[in-house]
Symmetry: C2
Subunit: 297 residues, 2 copies
């Protein structure tokens, strides 16, 4: 069992830290929110006074933060950057979804001080974080991947090694761009069928067993009532917010711009989620995009 600092106890980080504690690790948890710290304590974590205190004398530092600037601030450019005090045997695992450029820059800054830093963004949402069934997509060396894997296994089901530093973020952004495209396409196809007299459940079943088959039809149908237990069947509450899909599609546009990789479909999907967000739906689950297609009642 390891000693692990966990920084960032939000909707995702909170249950992830709890699963590490449940697995028997010593977890030193920190977050700016005292409410989040209280919950972490109930879940068996030790509470640290600061990120700096948490990150000292540990085998791993795991962070789960909103964006690249928070990650870079914490480790490199903030007031008391962790790379100034983290010990050399410690492996830093950043699970935040951030841009690959920042991930590579932070990894390089760590390497200069002899500290290992890998990107390990996750897929699977809050439900996956709670159930310990997340997918981790890791960018780092083979040795770093092997070191991190047993710890990630306590929080996830599928642990992938995408490639070198930054590759985890690239793979995640490619996946989530494709997710945005196929959700928009699924909304569009279902709406066209319904407007032409088809039953959405029948059309979903046909396409699921044909070449239109995709993740949205399998587990995340966007039409209310077609599938139980999905956001569409509870007024699009919970799930993966439009704001977060819009953020991820923005990261995809950055990767596209930096590498001149054409993204006509990803750009179109981003524009649709932007329109939907502008109409006031940023807080709804992203499958609510089908509302953008539907006629006013």
């Amino acid at each position: 069992m390891a000693t692990i600092a966990f920084i960032g106890l939000g909707n995702m980080g909170g249950p992830m830290a709890a699963n590490l504690a449940k697995a028997g690790h010593t977890v030193k948890a920190f977050d700016l929110s005292s409410k989040a710290l209280e919950i972490a304590a109930e879940q068996g974590c030790q509470i640290a006074d600061s990120a700096q205190q948490a990150a000292t004398g540990v085998d791993f530092v795991i962070s789960m933060l909103p964006a690249g600037k928070h990650v870079e601030g914490l480790y490199v450019s903030g007031d008391q950057p962790l790379f100034d005090l983290v010990e050399k045997h410690t492996l830093v695992i950043d699970c935040s979804t951030i841009d690959a450029e920042t991930a590579r820059r932070v990894a390089a800054a760590g390497a200069e001080k002899g500290i290992g830093f890998i990107d390990a963004p996750v897929s699977g949402g809050v439900g996956g974080a709670q159930a310990g069934t997340l997918t981790f997509i890791v960018g780092g060396s083979d040795a770093q991947f092997e070191l991190a894997k047993p710890v990630l296994d306590n929080m996830g089901k599928n642990i992938f090694h995408a490639g070198d530093h930054g590759a985890g973020q690239i793979a995640k952004v490619c996946n989530n761009m494709l997710l945005g495209i196929l959700m928009a396409g699924t909304c569009e196809a279902l709406n066209m069928g319904v407007k032409n007299g088809l039953d959405p459940a029948v059309l979903s079943d046909i396409m699921k067993q044909s070449s239109g088959n995709n993740w949205a039809l399998q587990v995340y149908n966007p039409v209310p009532g077609v599938m139980d237990g999905v956001p569409a069947s509870r007024d699009y509450q919970g799930g993966f917010q439009v704001d977060l899909m819009f953020k991820d599609l923005g990261l995809a546009m950055e990767v596209s711009q930096q590498s001149a990789a054409a993204t006509p479909m990803g750009s179109a999907a981003r524009a649709l989620f932007n329109l939907h967000k502008s109409a006031g739906n940023g807080g709804l689950d992203f499958s609510s995009l089908i509302k953008l297609y539907q006629d006013a009642e």
Copy 2:
């Protein structure tokens, strides 16, 4: 066992008629090509001198033709329209992929003369036609569907009842529009990953087990070498041609226009396949769209 007229013995119709003969039905086959008739005879079909001769005194007429104008010409508006001579107990099953408006118009013309006509477009390609594993998507009444199902079972694996007349064509066009979208999206995501240093097989595996999962990643990977036995691994020969995907996306645009169902993603996918076709790739398999994304060597 039934007596069945089969009209249109092309790449799809030929093996479909052969499977009916193999199942023990009496198949009266007709095509304008004498070569196609020769092959049908070898497969156990009887050869008719004309569509009119084939369609007289049968339980079913099945047609597999290129476009709506051929179907309407054969049954309604041609020189010797079949609806003038088909007997009232005969059920007409049109398996062509045509526009839903024409399918409904032909069904209505048949109904006026007391002749049943259903649309039953297929999915599954030439391989599915040969193996007898096609998907049929039927538009017609419950009674007509029940009557047709045992015959369709001899040519396919999944037989769906999408709804009333025209619904089969609507469901097929919705599915194929979604297919065009997800193939374009998959090409785009894989190309972006590869341009940023990822291995296409690794990225495919990650997305297949994540929320980007779709039919293209499962059975039809567009990157050469990632998957055996797919068109991408044989220079995009065989499979489902760009020209046919472009035709189906055109049918989707017609349905969109007639019903004012917004298709921003389908329109974008259509534009991409159009660009790819214009560059001289109409005869390649549609997964070759990834060439449009790739940098010149």
